[in-house]
């Protein structure tokens, strides 16, 4: 299954890194959308279906935690797979996210780390012919 993905980070450079890493990971991708904060992301999610959201925590306007809480309140999106890609290092916060069914990838990350997290959360399989396995 080709994934439609929304990447949410206030850093355009980090969004580019996440998207490039996703493409290198061997995962089959459909549409890849971008947003600079949680509010922009919610606007996109109101108009477009995506299979997976990759989001940062520390963002202006609406941060990642507020965004997750907002998404979970929307019945059609309450099961949407989400992976936090962040510099967050507190095991207390990371465990809280994982208990809520949110994936977590720590910055800096490798293609393998990102791919494993996506596979674990969505159950998709990797197109081995395009996977280089490393970053």
């Amino acid at each position: 299954m080709a994934l439609s993905v929304l990447v949410v980070d206030d850093s355009s450079v980090m969004r580019s890194i996440v998207i490039r890493t996703l493409r290198m990971s061997g995962l089959e991708l459909n549409e890849v959308l971008q947003a600079g904060n949680g509010k922009e992301a919610l606007e996109i999610l109101g108009k477009t279906w995506v299979d997976l959201v990759l989001l940062d925590i520390n963002m202006p306007v609406m941060n990642g935690i507020e965004m997750i809480e907002s998404i979970r309140k929307i019945p059609e999106l309450s099961d949407l797979p989400m992976i936090v890609v962040s510099t967050e290092s507190s095991t207390t916060r990371i465990d809280t996210l994982k208990q809520r069914g949110i994936g977590f990838v720590h910055k800096p990350f490798t293609a393998e780390m990102l791919r494993n997290s996506v596979i674990q959360l969505t159950g998709v399989t990797v197109n081995e012919t395009t996977s280089d396995g490393s970053f």
């Binding site: 850093s11 355009s12 450079v13 980090m14 580019s16 890194i17 490039r20 520390n58 202006p60 962040s86 510099t87 967050e88 290092s89 507190s90 095991t91 207390t92 916060r93 720590h106 910055k107 800096p108 990350f109 490798t110």
Partner: protein
């Protein structure tokens, strides 16, 4: 002080290697030592202990770092370079914080702020833990500012 300096070096090393695809080194050669500071950024954090990280880059390293992060060819735009600089400092901070107290400690990392290179003197006079990292034809200087009593306890 030695322990946190080592942690600072490891955090910087990891970020410049894994995010910037550079070959950082603890040893600074003559060219790197003489590289003039070009850009500066700070990231403040709060939690069980508050503090700040100041990252400065000397020499022509920021465009290379930015292009590497983007997976693009040079030239890069100034906006991309500032964004890359902020992100690098942010990730260094996030990788360092678990070493300050323990891995359970909850910190808030505040948005990075670009600083004028001309106005760094006040920061440089404050007590800090400093680690220089050699980066190709340039140098990164990472300074960790913590409350004085915390620095004394770590010394």
């Amino acid at each position: 002080m030695k322990r946190l300096q080592t942690d600072l070096f490891k955090a910087g090393l990891r970020v410049f290697e894994d995010l910037g695809f550079l070959l950082p080194s603890a040893e600074i050669n003559e060219e790197q030592a003489q590289a003039q500071t070009q850009v500066a950024v700070t990231v403040e954090f709060s939690g069980p202990v508050g503090g700040m990280i100041l990252l400065t880059l000397g020499g022509p390293i920021l465009p290379v770092l930015t292009a590497n992060m983007l997976g693009d060819e040079l030239p890069t735009t100034e906006a991309q370079e500032i964004d890359a600089l902020k992100e690098v400092c942010n990730v260094i901070c996030g990788n360092l914080l678990p070493n300050l107290i323990n891995e359970d400690a909850v910190f808030d990392i505040h948005p990075p702020q670009v600083r004028s290179v001309k106005n760094l003197e006040s920061f440089l006079q404050m007590p800090s833990i400093h680690q220089a990292i050699g980066l190709e034809e340039g140098r990164a200087d990472i300074r960790l500012f913590l409350p004085e009593e915390f620095l004394k306890r770590e010394a």
